[in-house]
């Protein structure tokens, strides 16, 4: 167990260092921008999956948590322009608390009501942000990103590195949860709440843990958003696409393991980036929608499950 953990952490560290080294070598900014978006979806999909995949509660409000992270950052930037890591921490904190709150309010309900409540939450928060003129309100506001940053040749590369590190960290968090007693307890809740409670699993605590961690990761992913787009306004920060994608990606990749959302986010996210600059975006949406419905109907365990099945079949043939 611990040997596996060590190896995983080493790989994670190597990936972070690797993504830093990439920035010293490669110039083309487009790749950084595209990679940033894909990595941002890795974080969101992984975060969604901690609650949705591991624990079995479908969150339609990803955009709310994401945007709360982004707007926490905007408010801070407007106030005293703290360094990025402060934005990340605060964005995570606010969205984590939001997750805790909404969890406390609704998790005693049937799963479906939780989902509807998250949907409603996104709308209410968007309204509130739209009416808060300090962060630009409905009109939005332009955010000047710092002109330079030590060790990086420009801010885009720095943002890419930050998001790469966040992606690695969030996948690592998901992995640690999955492999720990917490993750096993979450799986028990997903399978049967009543039985889980009778086996000694503190279901309310674990569910609140899941909403908090999931929300916090989404908030952290949102914190650098305003620096990335330079201009932030509620409709784009609260866009339903975040909810659809962060749910579709794990569904396509597979929801029960850390690998599923990663694979889903990388594949679908990359495909979207390519489609944005090649196909028309209607086709882009059509593809995501069809993939989502197709996978849910035909391959409910996602790509990871599909590969597992194929491998099992091949192994069976060899034997």
């Amino acid at each position: 167990m611990s040997k596996e953990r060590k190896l995983f952490l080493i790989v994670a560290a190597v990936l972070i260092v690797g993504s830093f080294l990439i920035t010293t070598q490669m110039e083309n900014r487009f790749y950084y921008k595209a990679a940033y978006v894909v990595l941002q979806y890795v974080v969101l999909a992984t975060a969604w999956n901690i609650l949705g995949g591991y624990t079995g509660y479908v969150n339609f409000g990803t955009a709310a948590f994401f945007a709360m992270g982004a707007y926490t950052a905007v408010a801070l930037i407007k106030t005293w322009k703290p360094p990025l890591y402060v934005l990340l921490v605060m964005g995570g904190l606010v969205s984590g608390l939001l997750g805790l709150g909404i969890g406390y309010l609704t998790l005693r309900l049937k799963g479906v009501f939780f989902s509807i409540a998250t949907l409603a939450l996104a709308v209410v928060l968007q309204m509130i942000i739209s009416n808060w003129s300090y962060v630009g309100g409905g009109a939005g506001t332009a955010i000047l990103k710092p002109r330079s940053v030590p060790m990086f040749s420009n801010y885009d590369e720095f943002l890419f590195f930050v998001m790469a590190a966040l992606a690695v960290v969030s996948v690592a968090v998901a992995w640690l949860i999955e492999k720990s007693w917490v993750g096993r307890g979450m799986a028990a809740i997903r399978d049967n709440e009543e039985a889980a409670e009778c086996m000694g699993v503190p279901i309310l605590k674990l569910k609140l843990f899941a909403t908090t961690v999931s929300g916090a990761l989404m908030g952290i992913a949102g914190a650098p958003f305003s620096y990335f787009v330079v201009y932030i306004e509620p409709t784009s920060a609260f866009h339903l696409d975040y909810a659809v994608n962060s749910l579709a990606m794990p569904m396509i990749g597979g929801t029960t393991t850390w690998l599923g959302p990663l694979v889903g986010a990388v594949l679908v996210g990359t495909a979207q980036q390519i489609a944005t600059v090649t196909l028309s975006s209607e086709m882009n949406l059509l593809i995501v929608g069809s993939l989502l419905v197709g996978f849910v109907v035909f391959a409910p365990d996602g790509l990871v499950g599909l590969f597992g099945k194929i491998r099992a079949r091949l192994a069976g043939r060899e034997a």
Binding site: G138, A139, Q273, S280, S281
Partner: protein, 419 residues
């Protein structure tokens, strides 16, 4: 253990595949490439598509004459889906992968601002298409914006409306302000608020409505009616504009002057739907088939546009955005020709320092790349008798009542008289 390593390798293989996918095809020889993002889907999609058509017409016009400095023009564009988050990636791709020679903006403030820092970093001339004060924070000197708002765009935008109001006898005293809760409308109303103060009108109602998400405007307009304003300035988007006009007629809301910043009333489909309901409304306008606005080349352009538009299900008349979409690339092209150079700094300086003749008239830029003087028309809709399209391509329906210089008919006051 081995599994993790395998996954990592898999991941890198994937990354590699991705970068191959993004590698551009072989460079076509000797074209001048102009790159931009455009809203082809999403809320701004319809207008964005029309703008694209206008730009394509310009490209064909230029190429028919032999191109720019002997090189053919090629447009490279991607759909930003009206999502600001897509814009930075698109411009990075245009510059680093497609290696375009020039960039111009997409349509609308939200989609211009995310691209501006990129243009700044690369020191490129950046033509803007309908951005409202987009450069206020950046103050980039090579940014030029084609919408005729004026040097202080947010305030100048509605100045005409207020100047008209101030001239009436007896002088109106009170005003109600209503805006959609989104970028343009809020800015427009913010400007109106300042103008109201400047002209000494008392604000008796000042509220925002959610956009999108408002189904019915009746309760809102009743609240306005209860406040009984002389003037009613509205900042709204197409969906809301229609709802507001209809609800205003239903509850017989009759301020003395009504309109201002309502987007959508300039669109042919909406005009055809509202028909007679439009009469008497005074709204901002950019171009109308009035005798005072026959700028050189505009009629030829519109003829080409109107031939193609129905095929693409675009606004069939195209008076609103297309002439300006044509003009902002026309202006860039003319600058290239005039300087006989592809040097960004030279072209920027030329645009900054000269007056340019375009299909939307003479353009001179001032502070922050906005027009040196405001030329936002106030148009009053008059004598509309039916819902037919031909109704709106005739002279005398969209009467320019401000500024004096372009005035094409008489202003009818109060609103109820024009109804």
């Amino acid at each position: 253990m081995g599994r993790i390593i395998k996954h990592v390798i898999l991941g890198f293989a994937l990354l590699l595949a991705v970068s191959i996918a993004f590698t551009p095809a072989a460079q076509a020889a000797k074209e001048v490439k102009i790159g931009f993002s455009m809203a082809l889907t999403g809320p701004l999609g319809p207008a964005g598509k029309a703008a694209l058509l206008a730009m394509q017409i310009w490209r064909d016009d230029v190429n028919a004459k032999g191109g720019l400095l002997g090189r053919k023009v090629k447009l490279v564009y991607y759909d930003d889906q009206t999502k600001p988050a897509n814009v930075p990636g698109i411009y990075a791709k245009l510059l680093d992968v497609d290696k375009v020679d020039f960039i111009v903006s997409g349509y609308g403030t939200n989609l211009i601002v995310p691209a501006l820092p990129i243009a700044m970093e690369r020191g490129m001339v950046f033509m803007g298409l309908f951005g409202l004060d987009a450069n206020a924070k950046f103050k980039y000197n090579n940014y030029f914006q084609i919408m005729p708002a004026g040097p202080d765009p947010i305030v100048d935008w509605s100045r005409g409306f207020f100047e008209l109001a101030a001239k009436q006898k007896p002088r109106p005293k009170t005003i109600a302000l209503l805006s959609a809760d989104a970028e343009f409308a809020r800015n427009a109303v913010a400007g109106a608020r300042r103008n109201a103060k400047k002209f000494g009108f008392k604000i008796v109602y000042d509220k925002r409505y959610p956009f999108p998400g408002t189904t019915d405007f009746t309760p809102i307009l009743r609240a306005v009616k209860a406040a009984n304003p002389d003037l009613f300035y509205v900042g709204s988007y197409p969906g809301g504009s229609v709802g507001i006009v209809k609800a205003a007629h239903e509850i017989k809301l009759e301020p003395k002057l009504f309109g201002g910043g309502m987007v959508g009333l300039q669109y042919t489909a909406i005009q055809m739907n509202l028909g007679k309901l439009l009469n008497g409304i005074t709204d901002y306008w950019f171009w109308a088939p009035e005798k005072t606005l026959k700028f050189p080349g505009i009629e030829a352009f519109l003829a080409k546009y109107q031939k193609e538009a129905p095929k693409q299900k675009l606004d069939p008349l195209g008076y609103y955005l297309p002439p300006f979409a044509y003009a902002y690339v026309q202006l860039l092209g003319n600058a290239i020709e005039a300087t006989k150079s592809f040097d960004q700094a030279k072209i920027g300086a030329y645009i900054r320092n000269n007056t340019h003749s375009t299909v939307v008239g003479d353009v001179k830029f001032g502070k922050n790349g906005e027009w040196a003087t405001s030329r936002t028309f106030q148009v009053q809709l008059q004598n509309i008798e039916s819902n037919k399209m031909s109704e709106f391509s005739k002279e005398g329906k969209m009467v320019v009542v401000y500024p004096e210089e372009f005035k094409s008919g008489n202003f009818i006051y109060p609103y109820a008289k024009g109804k």
